[in-house]
Symmetry: C2
Subunit: 352 residues, 2 copies
């Protein structure tokens, strides 16, 4: 059993005294230095265990200039995607013996600034940030090694970043839609101000152009990245005249779920009347009825890689400064298979 004085946490001096050596010897023994008699080392280790010694990382940080802590600033830890990212980051950091200070910015630039200041004062070794604004130039505000998460990072070539491969994701989605016979899906996208929207749209266009199809025919509706945003966008889509089955590719699972609600509101059935493809891979999609078919972002991997990138940054190893993680298809039940039910449709659509 460990003796634990109620009053004070044992320091290395307590260990040294108990082992009958100087504190520098004790430190060396505990650090696993080579210039130590095996016998001395053993005595020190035993003494440390006996007094319940635990190295004070604050003190270590002061001396070494490395606190062993990393910061994470994301929009909202209660959002399932960001929670996944946080989990990945946390696991990777813990594996390296580092700890993670987590903050939510709520997409508020002031909150972000406050949190970054707190991180700097805490002397974290670096920070992983999903920057609130797409259009800041005051990069000074970071003032520490940083890795960005998300598409806004694109504009800052000096800062390394990790994100999902939107191009690949969009292709995956579009190919899957086509394989099911949906050649001209409507798009439900985020607000025009968001860089991610432009990236998504660009990928769609490229994909169409490569196949000699005209992206101009695609219906597009915008909305906030929320359930309500998706619901309204779908409402507008359903109000438009159309023939036959409607397929929708939403830029975000929440919007896709909202779209699904709008379909139900309109007395229609998904996937019979309307097919919906999402993007994110949040767990809620699994329990929706029908299950939401979606392109899943590897949130956990993104978090892990961000931490790895941050370590590279901290150690001045400027390796791969721009990482795009591949997404994968999660097939559930929200897409009708027109290629089986009505093969003539495909041919017809192809001719357009």
């Amino acid at each position: 059993m460990v003796e634990r004085s109620r009053s004070r946490r044992p320091t290395i001096i307590d260990v040294a005294e108990r082992a009958g050596v100087s504190k520098s010897t004790a430190a060396r023994a505990l650090a696993g230095s080579s210039n130590i008699t095996d016998e001395t080392r053993e005595r020190v280790v035993k003494a440390a265990a006996a007094v319940g010694y635990e190295r004070n990382h604050l003190a270590v940080g002061m001396r070494s200039g490395r606190s062993g802590m990393l910061g994470l600033v994301i929009p909202d830890i209660a959002n399932p995607f960001w929670a996944e990212v946080a989990r990945g980051a946390q696991d990777r950091a813990a594996r390296a013996g580092a700890s993670l200070l987590v903050f939510s910015s709520d997409w508020d630039p002031e909150a972000e600034a406050t949190h970054l200041r707190t991180l700097r004062r805490a002397r974290v070794d670096g920070a992983i940030v999903n920057p609130v604004s797409d259009s800041f130039d005051d990069l000074d505000r970071f003032g520490m090694p940083c890795v960005f998460i998300g598409s806004s990072a694109e504009r800052y070539p000096d800062i390394s970043s990790v994100g999902s491969d939107i191009t690949q994701a969009v292709r995956l989605g579009l190919d899957h839609l086509m394989s099911k016979g949906h050649v001209a899906p409507a798009l439900i996208l985020g607000p025009k101000s968001r860089l991610a929207r432009a990236r998504f749209l660009r990928a769609v266009h490229e994909h169409f152009v490569e196949r000699d199809l005209d992206p101009g025919v695609l219906a597009v509706e915008d909305g906030e990245y929320t359930v309500e945003g998706g619901r309204e966008a779908m409402r507008r889509l359903l109000a438009q005249p159309r023939v036959g089955h409607l397929a929708v590719f939403a830029a975000n699972d929440m919007m896709a779920l909202g779209a699904m609600m709008a379909v139900r509101d309109a007395g229609l059935d998904c996937p019979r009347d309307v097919s919906i493809l999402g993007f994110d891979g949040i767990p809620s999609g699994e329990f929706a009825w029908p299950g939401l078919t979606t392109i899943a972002k590897p949130g956990r991997d993104i978090g892990e890689r961000a931490v790895e990138g941050l370590f590279d940054e901290i150690e001045h190893r400027p390796e791969h400064r721009r990482i795009y993680m591949p997404c994968r298809l999660l097939e559930r039940g929200s897409l009708a298979d027109l290629s089986v039910a009505a093969p003539q449709r495909i041919a017809g659509a192809g001719r357009n």
Copy 2:
């Protein structure tokens, strides 16, 4: 604009030199001490801004013995309930100028121990923990001010805790079920080893006894606190002979969602054939079809109160050491209303 030497972060000495005072004067000025000429203070503040000074919290922590950091050890930050708790804790901590080190234990005692050790080494001022095990006696392993979250805390009168008020929650659920004409709901509960299960069951019994009903008639199935656990439990429930409508009260939303799947698997309809009431209030329940009616735990509030309790603990203010947060009903669509459709059922059931 701030001058920022690329090499070294400015210390209080840089500020002092620039202001032409000693470092203690600079410190006093920055701390807002009273024994300072307004003129001096202003000079110091200006100098601090000019060099871009930011107080080193590691150093402050060393001197003061207070690191300004709190630890949070929960089963899984990627679980929506715990993410809510984390969010509440984080917000409350930030409001007090503290930061939060977040760790996930995955219900693994070893991982928990490792994380607690890390927190102790980081010299956090205290920790909020959802203890993995219900049956530990080595309370020493904490070795710092602690607040527990969850029911296992009940066994440790010396440690303050915050949790949801299961008794109130169960009453709320049972009353609601009864108001809809479901007098003898089947129960889907967690593993027998969990203290929370016993608490839940006890509350059900009390409620029944108070109303002169016999709790012995209630069917009970156990399972893991997962979707699959709930699905299997519901499968077993459906295999039992029964007359008329089946109502189920699940101890956890994931299980409730799994139960809903099992109902679908059996070719039955919720809520027409089976009514399901959940417990937790996770967002997925909103998108399920039908929407899951559930008793929502105030995750965010729990996190906030835990931090407040931890501050009390740290400052040796042993106020309210046991806090139970009230839950609320989230009515969605998973409960049939038998009281309207078939009032004779209620009378019949009441006679049993």
